[in-house]
């Protein structure tokens, strides 16, 4: 059996491993444009600062491909012919035939919607090539972590639509690191770019369109804590400010917003990601955002073709179909896809949503329905300012706990998920908090005084985002 996997990311590799475990004899070919080796995309920021080297961000030793007999093609897939069962490649390479195909091509940065996207000094922070660009802008060359092996090997077989093309930088023309770095976009990647610039001892300007940082996950008070910490580090945080243009003569000189115009020599545009699927065209059914529509078994509209990871539009717990651009979901989908490629039955079942992150040194955990404007929603809030500073928000629908959002402490999301599934009350949860605590040893436990345990009165939900739940698709 010949299996082709487009994508050397977590979804593609997990699928390949799961398939190999079931089909020792299958021919498995992994097509990847970006890199020779599977690496953790989530770790780009640490390579930039010097906390990690490239090799350390690779979850398996480099002999993985030889050990598991995965063939690799370092080229861009530019088309798909489901009838003929072939994948077309750039660079004049022969089309790859497959018996079964997995599309795991991830996301690409959301394109810059303002004039000036092409200026030297403007870039993103999503791919290895983006990282190399920002390393050159800041350090004048690769960080001490070096470069990944054969960083340019795909350039012989790519096209101009690829997000993996190297970007020119302005370090030499400037004669040094940026003096006026700007980051646009108040999400996770945006704040990581800010931290990366801080670690290089630069003071970035941080332009956020929303009224507070990351309203998808935080309420105003929570966000204020994070932006307060960024400001304490010298970051120039602008909230509720809309970018209108990136300006300059060939090289970025200014960023103009609806309020002012700022000097700028490097600008990281981090306004989200979109499915990296334009090369697929009409070969597979896709949603409005470009995600490849998949069924419960990750099957696509074409026979023998599956999709997993950031590029797959899956059905969420609330019924809507859209991609889940997360590491652990890509991994879980990859494992299901691997079993599908082997011909086994397996379904991708999405449970209660959860995630964790770190925002300007503050640990963040979220579980369940948070910032979703659930009907009849009430938010119980607690703020701790003793030896530990932390916040805990429990979301209630009626008497039932449906979500939690926490900053500053570590929590075991698995216990919260169980509570949500068991339809526990606020009183129950607050008297069992210790079970869900995941703080390191010797950290004093969170104690919520009895008089702070009352649920807030029923009433209109303290609106966190105005956007209603995405409507489920037919």
């Amino acid at each position: 059996m010949r299996v082709v996997i487009v994508g050397n990311g977590v979804a593609g590799i997990e699928a390949a491993l799961a398939l190999r475990a079931r089909e020792p004899g299958a021919t498995i070919t992994i097509v990847s444009e970006e890199s020779d080796h599977f690496f953790s995309r989530t770790a780009l920021m640490w390579i930039h600062s010097g906390q990690l080297r490239h090799e350390e961000t690779e979850p398996y030793e480099r002999d993985l491909y030889a050990r598991e007999r995965f063939e690799r093609v370092r080229a861009r897939a530019v088309g798909l012919d489901p009838e003929a069962h072939t994948v077309r490649l750039a660079g004049g390479l022969a089309p790859l035939p497959y018996d079964r195909l997995l599309v795991a091509c991830g996301s690409r940065p959301r394109p810059t919607p303002w004039p000036g996207a092409e200026l030297r000094g403007v870039g993103h922070f999503v791919t290895h090539q983006d990282l190399a660009w920002l390393e050159r802008e800041v350090w004048g060359g690769p960080s001490r972590g070096g470069s990944p092996p054969r960083p340019d090997a795909h350039l012989a077989a790519t096209d101009e639509r690829s997000p993996y093309r190297p970007r020119p930088d302005g370090h030499a023309a400037r004669g040094g690191p940026p003096r006026h770095p700007v980051v646009i976009g108040g999400g996770l990647v945006g704040i990581e770019a800010v931290e990366v610039l801080l670690a290089a001892k630069l003071t970035p300007r941080f332009l956020v369109r929303e009224e507070w940082f990351w309203p998808l996950a935080l309420d105003r008070a929570e966000a204020d804590w994070i932006t307060g910490r960024l400001r304490a580090h010298g970051v120039l945080v602008h909230l509720g400010e809309h970018v209108e243009a990136l300006e300059g003569e060939g090289t970025l000189a200014r960023v103009r917003t609806d309020r002012a115009s700022y000097d700028a020599d490097v600008c990281v545009v981090a306004i989200g990601v979109v499915p990296n699927t334009d090369w697929i065209g009409d070969a597979l059914a896709r949603d409005a955002g470009g995600g490849v529509l998949v069924g419960p078994g990750l099957e696509t509209s074409a026979e023998d073709v599956f999709a997993a990871g950031d590029c797959a539009s899956v059905r969420w717990f609330h019924g809507a179909r859209m991609p889940e651009p997360l590491w652990y979901t890509a991994r879980a989908q990859g494992r299901v896809a691997g079993r599908r490629l082997a011909g086994d039955r397996a379904d991708y079942a999405r449970g209660v949503f959860y995630n964790s992150s770190k925002l300007a040194d503050v640990e963040h955990t979220t579980v369940g329905l948070v910032s979703m404007n659930v009907e009849g929603e009430r938010n119980w809030r607690f703020e701790e300012r003793g030896a530990v500073r932390s916040t805990l928000r429990v979301v209630l629908a009626g008497e039932r706990v449906v979500g939690m959002n926490a900053l500053g402490r570590r929590w075991d999301h698995a216990v919260w998920i169980r509570w949500i599934e068991e339809r526990r009350s606020l009183a129950y949860v607050l008297s069992h908090l210790a079970e869900a605590s995941f703080d390191t040893e010797l950290v004093p436990p969170l104690v919520v005084p009895r008089d702070a345990r009352e649920a807030p009165p029923e009433g209109p939900a303290p609106s966190v985002i105005d956007a209603p739940l995405p409507a489920p698709e037919a």
Partner: protein, 360 residues
């Protein structure tokens, strides 16, 4: 911030002296030179006398303590927001200064023995030699025997070997403080792990065997000349002399500390320390574990990179596997640098222990 989690991004690999740059090699050469000088010459004796210290070993103890204090300051500046680190390093430095330097220094002034409470057999291989035991007052001999054979493994079974290797031990203490700038240099490769298992258990067996032979010699050596010659004589090739030279001086000192800036600070502890091997076995059977939150790991590699014992923590974390590795000294750094709070060191309740085959 807030008592756990790494503050800010580290710039480790951008600092040449920490990244096997020229300065790193230079430091390694200096350290190695110092240990060769210390073990194989008497150059330091006059300096010790001039400072009013009884021997070069006391001078070494003073230098050692200063290095540990300096290293502890470095460590706490880098990771000191972590409460676990603050307490652990504080205790470790205090033990070194009180039990491994001041007490041995002052005890003779009061007519007592020079005795190192914080070093136990088989790390302090001489502690259970019959000749040593015989020369000690009964309570100290009992301390050596019970501490080494019963208390140390029992505590490791209950709390993990960390109680010794990163809260008490001087070798571990130096590694964790003075050696901290190089902790990321310990190899994480599977091949390094294979070497570790063979090497450390070999030394353990040698330590036990040689101690047993010395005991045998103590009982019957008078009547068996060859045994005495091979085991306990002053010949340079006798077991007693060879073990002292190879394990005590070359592996623990010259190699163990000399290569800090090249292969990380735990080369000795990981590959050669017989005490670490014994306590590691107790740990494997015991309650200590690293708990992994299910499906939260983003495979970033920070935990593995900053593990000074070369454990590929990520390999377990991304498989959602709570685990106990014999090598783990419980320094707490993986849990500290993990950006997603996936890891937790803990002494699990008895029914929740991870049971893994000893060989893993």
């Amino acid at each position: 911030m807030d008592l756990q989690g790494q503050d800010g991004l580290l710039t480790t690999w951008r600092e040449g002296w920490r990244a096997r740059g020229v300065a790193g090699w230079l430091v390694a050469a200096l350290l190695t030179g110092f240990y060769v000088d210390l073990y194989f010459t008497d150059h330091l004796e006059p300096a010790a006398r001039a400072l009013g210290l009884p021997s070069k070993w006391m001078l070494y103890g003073a230098i050692y303590s200063v290095a540990m204090v300096g290293g502890a300051i470095y460590y706490l500046r880098a990771h000191g927001n972590g409460r676990y680190h603050r307490v652990r390093v504080g205790v470790n430095v205090a033990v070194q200064i009180a039990l491994a330097f001041l007490l041995p220094l002052v005890m003779p002034w009061f007519g007592g023995e020079e005795f190192y409470f914080s070093y136990l057999w088989p790390l302090d291989w001489y502690k259970l030699h019959p000749a040593t035991l015989a020369s000690l007052p009964v309570h100290l001999a009992l301390y050596s025997l019970l501490g080494s054979l019963i208390a140390a493994p029992l505590l490791a079974w209950r709390f993990g070997k960390r109680w010794y290797c990163s809260w008490v031990c001087g070798c571990g203490g130096l590694a964790n403080t003075f050696g901290d700038p190089w902790r990321h240099l310990t190899s994480k490769r599977a091949a390094a792990w294979r070497f570790e298992r063979v090497a450390v258990h070999t030394v353990m067996v040698l330590a036990i065997l040689s101690t047993a032979l010395l005991a045998l010699d103590h009982v019957v050596g008078e009547r068996h000349e060859t045994l005495r010659l091979v085991v306990a004589s002053a010949e340079p090739w006798s077991i007693k002399r060879l073990y002292g030279l190879v394990v005590g001086a070359v592996l623990a000192g010259v190699v163990g500390v000399g290569v800090y800036p090249l292969f990380g600070p735990r080369v000795w502890c990981r590959n050669f320390c017989p005490m670490a091997a014994v306590l590691g076995l107790a740990q494997k059977l015991g309650r200590f574990r690293i708990r992994v939150k299910p499906d939260m790991c983003i495979s970033c590699g920070n935990c593995s990179t900053y593990c000074e014992m070369g454990i590929d923590v990520r390999a377990y974390a991304q498989r959602n596997e709570s685990f106990t590795r014999a090598a783990c000294v419980g320094c707490g750094m993986c849990a500290h640098v993990c950006p997603r709070g996936v890891l937790r060191l803990e002494n699990a309740p008895p029914d929740e222990r991870v049971r893994l085959p000893l060989a893993r």
